[in-house]
């Protein structure tokens, strides 16, 4: 069941009223949400429910142990049992992720390395959302271990933390310290929050169906037939993909955040106008913020962060970004994508030094150039992200520089550009603090009509059939 499908909307509407009218305390609220989450996930693949359940139970169990044994006691191999429990719980989540997502990648790479013949992939299914819920589970285990949060004894709340349905397929990745406490109190009906959530949901649907999927049709048509397209078209397509992936992922995140708000749960904001960033460092503070935060808290800082020697600090950054690339997909192209971002960050931090934090957020020629440069680097890196082999990437890059010609134009591109203009307009208003607020206008007529017009626009111009989220595969 896709989060913007008609079935989902009807099911959510029913759930919404049962939740607010019949669930009078946090236990019934959590129980209903957990049931809905498992049903929702089961619609995708009921076989993978067991895996989700096991990951959630092990994280919850580890939390219980940390509560029972608050300080290091018995030692085993010079480590406390608390340490071992954390190690086992994290290893389980990572093990699940590695087995289901990377086994074939590692085996085929080893096979290639030793000059083996054709590699026949093992038939391992990739459970949807596995990268997201395993990371949420790890966040809970580590935060409980480090005593950043009090482990919960409420098993329903514990399971719900990992499985909350709007976010399970594509995030945002939960941060235990922010997410768990919300399940431990009764959610009160808040009209303002629900209203806001609804508008975010509709805007998310617009971004996904009218911008991302329309651009996607063009991008797929071109990248599916690289040999027959010239450099001009390929250059345009790489920019189109840059915008498509933003609209796709930010659109999904907004839908998830909106649904969460309508149920009284505030999920972490995941995007904050990333393409207006002036540096790659700033870009990563605005793009997939929940993943960036996760890598920062659970990998970069434990590695020593920037409080180490310069050489070690560069290594830390590269490790984080290469692993971030690998998290996105089991292929070398993803690792290179991560590498490009890592190298770009290292270079700009070396060039700017401490000034990087003091670049003012104002309109100036220098800032426009910075934004353009950042956008170009990001777009270039997305080529590696989108294409499935290095050969294809080199063909595209070589054609961009050597093979000019007329732009390939399709009717769907016209619709994509109209929708894109709307998106850019809204994002620009948000970025530059313009006071045009159609959805939040003080005039009821403007509010109702703008929302209704947006829904009409989606029904008329959205790609309503067969869409899929790019980030589902991660």
């Amino acid at each position: 069941m896709i989060i913007y499908s008609f079935k989902y909307i009807i099911a959510f509407f029913v759930l919404f009223w049962i939740y607010w009218l019949l669930c009078k305390n946090k236990h019934t609220q959590n129980a209903l949400l957990l049931l809905a989450s498992y049903l929702f996930y089961g619609f995708w693949d009921w076989r993978c429910l067991l895996l989700l359940f096991a990951t959630s139970v092990i994280a919850y169990g580890a939390g219980l142990y940390f509560k029972k044994v608050p300080i290091a006691d018995k030692m085993f191999l010079r480590k406390s049992t608390r340490w071992w429990v954390r190690f086992a719980a994290v290893a389980f989540s990572l093990g699940v992720l590695i087995y289901f997502k990377y086994t074939n990648f590692f085996l085929s790479s080893i096979n290639k390395l030793f000059g083996g013949g054709d590699y026949h992939p093992l038939s391992i299914i990739l459970p949807v959302g596995i990268s997201f819920y395993t990371f949420s589970a790890i966040s809970y285990v580590v935060d409980c271990y480090q005593k950043k949060i009090e482990p919960t004894t409420d098993i329903i709340a514990g399971l719900l933390y990992t499985s909350f349905f709007p976010a399970i397929l594509s995030g945002p990745i939960h941060k235990a310290t922010e997410q768990l406490p919300q399940y431990l109190v009764k959610r009160e009906f808040d009209y303002g929050l629900i209203n806001k959530g609804f508008k975010e949901y509709v805007w998310g649907v617009f971004m996904k169906l009218c911008v991302a999927d329309r651009l996607g049709m063009y991008v797929d048509a071109v990248y599916g037939n690289i040999a027959n397209h010239n450099g001009t078209t390929l250059l345009f397509t790489s920019v189109a993909y840059t915008l498509q992936i933003y609209a796709d992922f930010a659109g999904y995140s907004l839908m998830a955040i909106g649904c969460g708000k309508m149920l009284g749960i505030r999920l972490q904001n995941n995007f904050n106008l990333p393409y207006f960033s002036k540096t790659i460092t700033e870009f990563w503070s605005k793009w997939h913020m929940s993943l960036t935060g996760w890598f920062k808290n659970y990998l970069y800082i434990p590695l020593g962060g920037n409080r180490v020697s310069k050489g070690r600090w560069i290594v830390n950054i590269m490790v984080v970004f290469l692993l971030s690339g690998l998290w996105h997909g089991a292929a070398f192209t993803f690792i290179i994508w991560g590498g490009i971002h890592g190298v770009a960050q290292v270079i700009e931090k070396l060039v700017y030094g401490k000034r990087i934090k003091t670049i003012e957020n104002k309109f100036s020629v220098a800032n426009v150039l910075r934004v353009l440069l950042t956008f170009s680097i990001v777009s270039f890196a997305w080529i590696f992200f989108r294409l499935s082999s290095i050969n294809e990437v080199f063909t595209v890059i070589s054609k961009i520089f050597n093979n000019r010609g007329h732009l390939f134009v399709e009717p769907t591109l016209f619709m994509a550009i109209c929708s894109l203009l709307l998106l850019v307009l809204k994002d620009s208003f948000d970025q530059f603090g313009a006071k045009v607020r159609l959805f939040d206008s003080k005039y009821a007529v403007v509010r109702y009509l703008s929302i209704a017009m947006l829904i009409v626009y989606i029904l008329l111009f959205g790609v309503l059939e067969g869409g899929q989220f790019i980030y589902f595969q991660f």
């Binding site: 008609f6 607010w20 808040d190 009209y191």
Partner: protein
């Protein structure tokens, strides 16, 4: 809190009321617009679909997909009939890109609701009865609530859902094509004008393993029965391509046998060596202007021969 519930309900009700009003208005305006659009045939796929389904009343109709558009020149058919019968037959090419048997059958039904043409040419190919038609219904959605034949078509292919009751939903994507049709003057077939030549001939014999679809068999049989019932001379034609047709395929054999049983002329040019020339094709499936000219003339000769043997044109 109770106030909050009421507020949410009121908001939902107002929004739904606005959407329903827009939906109804859209349906009304859409129907009017399409009627206006039908006053003269215009270029563009959407306008062509609209005109074919709702307005065309030709004496000779050509049904099919993009191959029908590219391979049959209505002017040549018209002139040929004029030279032969001294009568001004109107000829209309109802071919629509990416369409299959389902469109041919329901397109014929729509046509027969308005007129009884003398000749109908159905352009087919070797996998005609084995192709899955489910990917090609987008173009017909705007007519789900307007044209009963199209409604029946969508229903028989499980395309009618609760959402298709909405005019807004039905016009999805197609609205822009329909809107642009207003600015495209009536014109000649742009495909037929193509003089692009394919650079190399790669003659392929592709073994067809497609199984027959029961619903497609039903539709093919119904199309033949419908034509016979209304006394329309139906010609089932396989036009040339640069891919040799697999004459052993289930679909091909079914078409041939059914036509023979029902006494429907089946003219197969798909394996005719005469057409394997680079300068007759713009790609491996579609002929260019030169190919269409040659093929349509040959087809008309064969149709005349057929009539000479059987009946006089009414």
């Amino acid at each position: 809190m109770k106030n909050g519930y009421i507020k949410v309900l009121v908001n939902v009700a107002i929004l739904l009321a606005i959407l329903v009003a827009m939906d109804v208005t859209m349906g009304w305006a859409g129907e009017k617009y399409m009627r206006w659009l039908n006053k003269k045939p215009r270029n563009g796929d959407a306008a062509l679909v609209n005109y074919s389904l709702n307005a065309a009343v030709p004496d000779v109709a050509i049904l099919g997909s993009s191959t029908a558009i590219c391979h049959y020149d209505p002017d040549i058919i018209h002139d040929s009939l004029w030279a032969w019968q001294k009568k001004d037959y109107s000829v209309f090419n109802m071919g629509i890109s990416n369409q299959r048997l389902t469109y041919d059958y329901y397109g014929l039904k729509c046509l027969l609701d308005r007129t009884t043409p003398s000749i109908v040419i159905a352009d087919v190919w070797a996998t005609y009865i084995g192709n899955d038609p489910s990917l090609s219904f987008y173009a017909f959605m705007p007519y789900a609530n307007i044209n009963p034949n199209i409604k029946e078509m969508l229903k028989s292919h499980n395309q009618l859902t609760f959402m298709t009751k909405s005019n807004l939903y039905c016009f999805n994507t197609e609205i822009i094509k329909l809107a642009l049709s207003a600015f495209k003057s009536s014109g000649e077939n742009v495909y037929l004008k193509s003089k692009v030549e394919i650079k190399e001939v790669i003659k392929q014999t592709e073994k067809d393993t497609t199984s027959l679809l029961p619903l497609s068999i039903e539709e093919f049989d119904a199309m033949i029965a419908l034509a016979k019932d209304r006394d329309v001379k139906l010609f089932v034609v396989m036009s040339p391509t640069l891919r040799s047709s697999d004459t052993t395929s289930l679909s091909y054999r079914y078409i041939k046998e059914k036509c023979a049983t029902e006494n429907v002329p089946f003219l197969d040019y798909s394996n005719d060596e005469k057409y394997y020339q680079t300068h007759y094709f713009r790609d491996r499936t579609h002929m260019n202007y030169y190919g269409a000219e040659l093929f349509t003339k040959d087809l008309m000769k064969d149709i005349k021969k057929h009539y000479a043997m059987r009946i006089k044109l009414g």
